[in-house]
Assembly symmetry: C2
Homo-oligomer: 378 residues x 2
């Protein structure tokens, strides 16, 4: 079952799960829940083991979630879900998602135990935001980070060609600035990278921002600013007023648009806003190959864990120390992950709160992979 | 000299010009004007013939403009520019740009003639907006179109996974809807393509838009809407009020943000806005290979035209009739191109004004190239 928004590699994890399960010969059937929790609750399944291998392999290159996903609250429906699982003879449930989905894992496992149902529940990490606790990084992050870094690198070339405006690029990440921070790697492209980066881990100070922009204009004539969608002020209020609340969700206005307007209105200088938004988690061409491989491997590790009898765990990714980048998977009690948001640590954010440190770049570079270097004669 | 905003292939045309000029052996030097008209006026040149061939070849893969570009008004400075060109021994001037730049070509040539200076002036077409008159399509368009089409195709997969909102994607094109129209090709990706497309060639009717969106929500639970940045109402007023005028330019607010807010406020339904903006003209990974090849060839044709003694012309691209797509270059009097905006013809827009026709898709498909088909089990 997939929970929450897709990533560029959520289907790669699904491929790893299905392929490993089929290879093991230990499972009678492998089903996908159609559309997340709602599908699991109603017993609406997709028979993944009956799909041709070459079609299944296409999952590695498919954006979105090939079995759908959902954000429905399961509320008090856990006992009912257990009944449906038992009725359908399901022995193992795997949930791919973020820390909210790991909470679902914990609640579902509790409900199974209470009902005396012998069902294993295993979490598979997934988030472009990279805010899952206890792991080095989450599948989906490397691709979102690569998309943001190379796109910003290309935009830097464009702006460098004709520095007549400040371009504000908004990237996803409501509570954590991991993706915004990754745009610092755009400097690899050869045009200096973004001039300023603002992350939600620091309170946003409008006057400091305008002073930063004014200096940028005076020194370079223009430049590139990256802003997380979740910026808020010192009181914790989002810098753009919520436009409306729909059901449980708040609809926020665009941060990039707001900041560009602010530059125009307060500094009298040209500014543009760009907000690739969903493009950043759906792009197949700008994703990280390492991320695809790791996402698939995390899916395979979940199947191996199931065969070992594990339950109530999430597959983790830890770095193996050594000169070359290497990772290994492990198993983490979902209790240690559920609903905990992992934010950028202090040592990854610069002192002025408008950029990142070398330590962050060193950490993020292997996840993003090498970026192309672009020719310029300026 | 480059004029106006870059495209994904403006440097490919520059590569064609420099390489063809060097191969011809007919030129003593090949210079690039540093930063558009301002560089040409001040005699600030980049010696392109002195750059290593392998570095030069990198121009084919470089976003932005490698020699810079500019939007400065030349105003009454044409006689002065002629003086600078004569003083520096320049015999041929090539200007890469849109219909505004072709106007510059015409004015510069006139100034040369009045000054008795024997200088050839040749225009090289370039615009992601595709609004240059007299040609089948402009270099830069195919890449912007491919970026928009595949990106929207990927977003359609994302939204199809969890249809809980309407996503409004804004694409560039202030007067002409060529890029917005190209997103219809996203249907090749296998998730239906965008549900609604609005172009500036039709007056935007807010009530009709909301009725379209309401139907979309009722029928599918959500979907993807594409909107040109230049939408205006029946009186010709932009649908988003200008925020500020800076020098000669008007700064408009974001159309996607405005429309998403409208859906939330008026329909009480979730909506997101995405505005890739500059990313769409800077992306190297999602450009059209055919566009790169044609842009290079247009540059080479400009050099051949110069060797034939032509002046006051722009290189054109026309389709050669036949079963397979093929083009040929020709030469067009710049007088027929200057300042004329080429809009989408009626036969390319559907009757309701919220989509395109098959005739448009047939025309655009070879420029964009085949898009990947994505696997989904929904």
């Amino acid at each position: 079952m997939h929970g929450g928004g897709p990533t560029a590699v959520i289907n790669a994890s699904l491929y790893g799960i299905v392929d490993e399960a089929k290879r093991s010969g230990a499972f009678v059937h492998v089903y996908g829940s159609h559309g997340g929790p709602a599908g699991m609750l109603s017993g609406t399944y997709i028979a993944l083991d009956e799909i041709d291998d070459d079609v299944l392999a296409g999952l590695r290159d498919a954006p979105g979630s090939a079995i759908g996903t959902g954000r429905d609250a399961l509320g008090g429906h856990y006992p009912q879900m257990v009944e449906v699982l038992v009725k359908n003879g399901i022995d193992v449930v795997m949930l791919t998602g973020g820390n909210g989905t790991m909470n679902t894992c914990a609640l579902l496992q509790e409900a199974c135990r209470e009902a005396g149902a012998d069902i294993q529940v295993i979490g598979v990490p997934k988030t472009m935001d990279n805010d899952i606790a206890e792991i080095d990084h989450a599948p989906g992050y490397g691709s979102a980070a690569r998309y943001a870094a190379q796109s910003v690198g290309e935009v830097c070339c464009d702006v460098h060609s004709m520095p007549i405006h400040i371009v504000v690029v908004e990237v996803m990440g409501r509570s954590a600035g991991w993706v915004a921070a990754a745009t610092a790697l755009a400097e690899q492209c050869g045009q200096g990278g973004p001039d300023l980066i603002y992350v939600p881990e620091r309170a946003f100070d409008e006057e400091a921002f305008l002073a930063d922009c004014k200096r940028l204009i005076e020194e370079k004539g223009g430049g590139v600013v990256v802003a997380s969608e979740g910026l808020h002020d010192a009181e914790g209020n989002p810098i753009v007023d919520p436009i409306m609340e729909v059901e449980r969700e708040t609809y926020f206005g665009d941060v990039s648009s707001h900041l560009a307007n602010l530059i125009v209105a307060r500094l009298g200088y040209k500014a543009r806003s760009e907000k690739p938004g969903l493009l950043g988690r759906a792009s197949m061409t700008l994703r990280s190959e390492r991320d695809v491989d790791e996402a698939e491997e995390v899916g395979r590790a979940a199947v191996r864990a199931a065969l070992d009898g594990a339950t109530g765990v999430m597959v983790g990714i830890k770095r193996v120390s050594g000169e070359e980048y290497a990772v290994a998977t492990d198993l983490i009690d979902v209790e240690r992950v559920r609903l905990i948001e992992r934010l950028l640590p202090d040592e990854f954010i610069n002192e002025a709160g408008n950029g990142v440190t070398q330590a962050f770049k060193d950490w993020a570079a292997p996840l993003v992979g090498d970026l192309p270097q672009f020719v310029s004669f300026l």
